[in-house]
Symmetry: D2
Subunit: 83 residues, 4 copies
């Protein structure tokens, strides 16, 4: 199941971590995959919380397959940070 | 000179980079210093842009010395990404 | 149980990951903790493998409490990458 | 000019930084590019020093174009950490 939900032409999800260090380690993993996929999130971090928004700017800010693929990858990466 | 300006009890700054990889490398450096100082930003990234907000939650969301010290460090770290 | 074993005045351990991205995400987490503890590893990475050596240079390259504390932290961080 | 020299079928280079945090920030940038190029270094870090070795395992540990391209990119990334 995806961690993301659809909201105003974006896929969005909020992730919680044990602390800032784990949150940033997760962000590093996401960053490398995003760059590899040539598709980058808009994301926000405060301490142990990471909010990610995915949309395809090139397609007029619509949700596309690129967003779905990255959302699935992020959902999978998050698993190891959960209990 | 600080990259940050005061705005509604926060120090805020916007940073631009050549690309996402440089932006995230800068974020990694900031992340390590923030953790070391035990003082964490609220920050936002989209592609080559990073917006950082600093305030001290424990002091009722006021700007404190901790914010000034981290702002100065971030200003210094950014220098190598300029020019 | 520690992932590290003692070898010629060093604590050493070898870690395996699913791929390079996971290995580097683990390294990021270790890097932040190491900097926070002011105690840095000698480490080697090739693709999905990370070898870490810990010793205390300031004490004439002996294993000290600083090495044990960092070894324990690294052992704990690695857990989420297993299984 | 490349920071790398040829040595026993490898391109190797040693990089120095102001401190560990800068060294690791550089490593993060290299890591993302390496993953994007699907070509990974063997590298070693102790505090402010990073040693990188490039060779192409799939080609029987010879230096190939992939190594040259990554060496050039790393040489370029290092520039901003220099004086």
């Amino acid at each position: 199941m995806s961690a993301f939900t659809e909201e105003r032409n974006k896929l969005t999800a909020k992730f919680k971590f044990e602390n800032f260090v784990s949150a940033f380690s997760f962000m590093t993993e996401v960053a490398i995959w995003a760059e590899k996929m040539n598709h980058h999130p808009t994301w926000h971090n405060t301490y142990n919380e990471v909010i990610i928004e995915l949309t395809t700017h090139d397609e007029g800010n619509k949700i596309t397959d690129k967003d779905q693929v990255l959302a699935d990858k992020i959902t999978e990466l998050y698993k190891k940070y959960q209990g």
